[in-house]
């Protein structure tokens, strides 16, 4: 089984104002295989999830270790969709997507077919002229996802973007992510503290313990075998074994 993405010995320090160094990630190792479309990183609140995703996205380059994609060291960036999806309120749906289509295609006028395809895929059909401000987080997430797809990525990173959505919207977005992963053959990496979200969405779950940060467990999900409750129990069992289960650390 060849790893698609390999994270090797990632170590990250934060330097405080007084020059003091704080260890955030210490020798973190994990991999994602070709068959795992959606991988979740389950870590407690304040467990370095955002830091890890910023490293993977290329936004933070001040770390030690290696990130390999198909065995090769990478310099490119993966789109990151943050907790509050940052769709641009000065552009309408089409404008938001077009901006990055144009950028990605080196200022060539983006093809209307590709734009329409992204709009249709993300469920934004007939909302092309709508502006994202005053719209729900689900709507803004769809725009952010379409925008991420505009740059034809291999991986899309999700930094706890479901936190502010209601359960109905979450279900719709989960289905959308699965559909996009299947159709576009794109991998998603979700970082969250919510056990139900990872159980519902993931093909693979990485449990990460903080202070010090290390990989404390890994669950490969067999969709034909696992049931949601069974999966949640399995996750909680690992968390208990690691003495991590605490209401302040995770949401269920």
């Amino acid at each position: 089984m060849n790893p698609f993405l390999e994270v090797k010995n990632i170590t990250k320090y934060f330097t405080g104002e007084a020059g003091s160094k704080q260890l955030i990630l210490e020798n973190l190792n994990f991999y994602i295989s070709e068959e795992h479309n959606i991988t979740s990183i389950l870590a407690p609140f304040g467990g370095g999830k955002t830091t890890l995703l910023k490293i993977l996205s290329g936004l933070d380059t001040d770390y030690k270790g290696e990130i390999l994609l198909n065995g090769n060291k990478i310099n490119n960036k993966f789109p990151l969709i943050p907790e509050k999806p940052a769709s641009f309120p000065w552009l309408n749906v089409s404008g938001n997507i077009k901006l990055f289509l144009t950028m990605h295609e080196k200022n060539v006028k983006p093809s209307a077919i590709k734009l329409q395809e992204l709009i249709d895929l993300t469920g934004l059909t007939s909302y092309e002229d709508h502006f994202p401000h005053n719209k729900s987080y689900g709507f803004r997430f769809r725009i952010s996802l379409a925008r991420a797809l505009a740059v034809s990525p291999q991986i899309i990173l999700l930094d706890d973007p479901f936190k502010l959505m209601d359960s109905e919207t979450k279900d719709e977005i989960f289905e959308l992510i699965k559909k996009v992963a299947d159709i576009k053959k794109i991998k998603f990496i979700l970082a969250t503290s919510n056990i139900t979200e990872v159980a519902l969405l993931s093909d693979k779950i990485l449990l990460i313990k903080n202070k010090p940060v290390y990989l404390s467990g890994e669950i490969i999900i067999d969709k034909y075998k696992h049931r949601l409750e069974q999966l949640k129990d399995e996750i909680q069992e690992i968390l208990q074994k690691e003495n991590m289960i605490n209401a302040a650390n995770f949401s269920i």
Partner: protein
């Protein structure tokens, strides 16, 4: 101050409300006095303003100074926006120098220096207004850029956007509504400063009209000039607000 001018009610009710109270009190209740003139006399004096004080030319002179100079300042900042915040560029140094002057020398004092150095030049009020507009806006740009939500920048950067792309298409767009809103405040401030400047300097302009009205003890002329100045200020502010709502309608939340 910002909130006060952002309120629609101020624009709609303040001036008519004031006029109504003035008409009731000073036309019908109080006898002629030295405090405020009778509205009917003021109305007549508005006509004589144009004849005795060359009001139209003076008004156009002030309006040209305010709007031409401030629009040049806005355009200058917009065109050179990338370089202004870059302290290593020539324009960046120039911006920093002007800002530095505005920190250590009060603007009105700088105006007095300009009057002293070039007492007969009409150009100095354009320079004066440009200086105030430029330093006000550049300060606002710097302040707003510091408080930009990182998520917008990170989202664009993670999609592969470069530094210039992020500055032009993201950072600048994020601060544009706040900049446009601040133009209303700047507009009122500029009028106040210009009137004071012209009042001291003489020459042409509405400040000079006020000075002459005081000199001739023409209370109704003074009052009607102030009324027209207020009206121009409010119309200007309303137009700025309209443009803000039309072109910079988004809110960052």
């Amino acid at each position: 101050m910002n909130n006060m001018f952002h309120s629609n009610r101020i624009y709609i009710y303040f001036l008519p409300g004031f006029l109504l109270v003035w008409i009731i009190l000073f036309e019908f209740i109080f006898p002629p006095n030295q405090f405020l003139p009778k509205p009917s006399i003021t109305l007549v004096s508005i006509i004589s303003l144009f004849r005795d004080y060359q009001f139209l030319i003076n008004m156009l002179s002030s309006i040209a100074a305010i709007y031409f100079s401030s629009i040049v300042a806005v355009l200058f900042i917009w065109i050179f926006r990338r370089y202004l915040i870059n302290n290593k560029s020539l324009i960046g140094y120039l911006a920093f120098f002007l800002e530095w002057i505005s920190w250590i020398i009060p603007e009105i004092l700088l105006g007095l220096f300009l009057i002293f150095w070039l007492p007969d030049s009409e150009l100095i009020k354009y320079i004066f207004i440009f200086f105030i507009s430029f330093t006000f806006l550049i300060n606002k740009v710097e302040k707003e850029l510091k408080s930009i939500n990182r998520e917008f920048i990170d989202a664009a950067a993670s999609l592969g956007a470069g530094k210039n792309f992020i500055f032009d298409k993201v950072c600048w767009k994020v601060i544009e509504p706040e900049l446009a809103s601040s133009l209303t405040t700047l507009h009122f401030y500029l009028w106040t400063m210009l009137i004071v400047f012209e009042f001291i300097k003489g020459g042409s302009g509405l400040g000079t009209v006020l000075r002459n009205a005081i000199l001739y003890k023409d209370l109704s002329g003074l009052f009607s000039s102030i009324l027209i100045i207020c009206l121009i200020m409010f119309i200007g502010a309303y137009i700025i607000k309209y443009f803000k709502n039309k072109f910079f309608f988004w809110s960052i939340s």
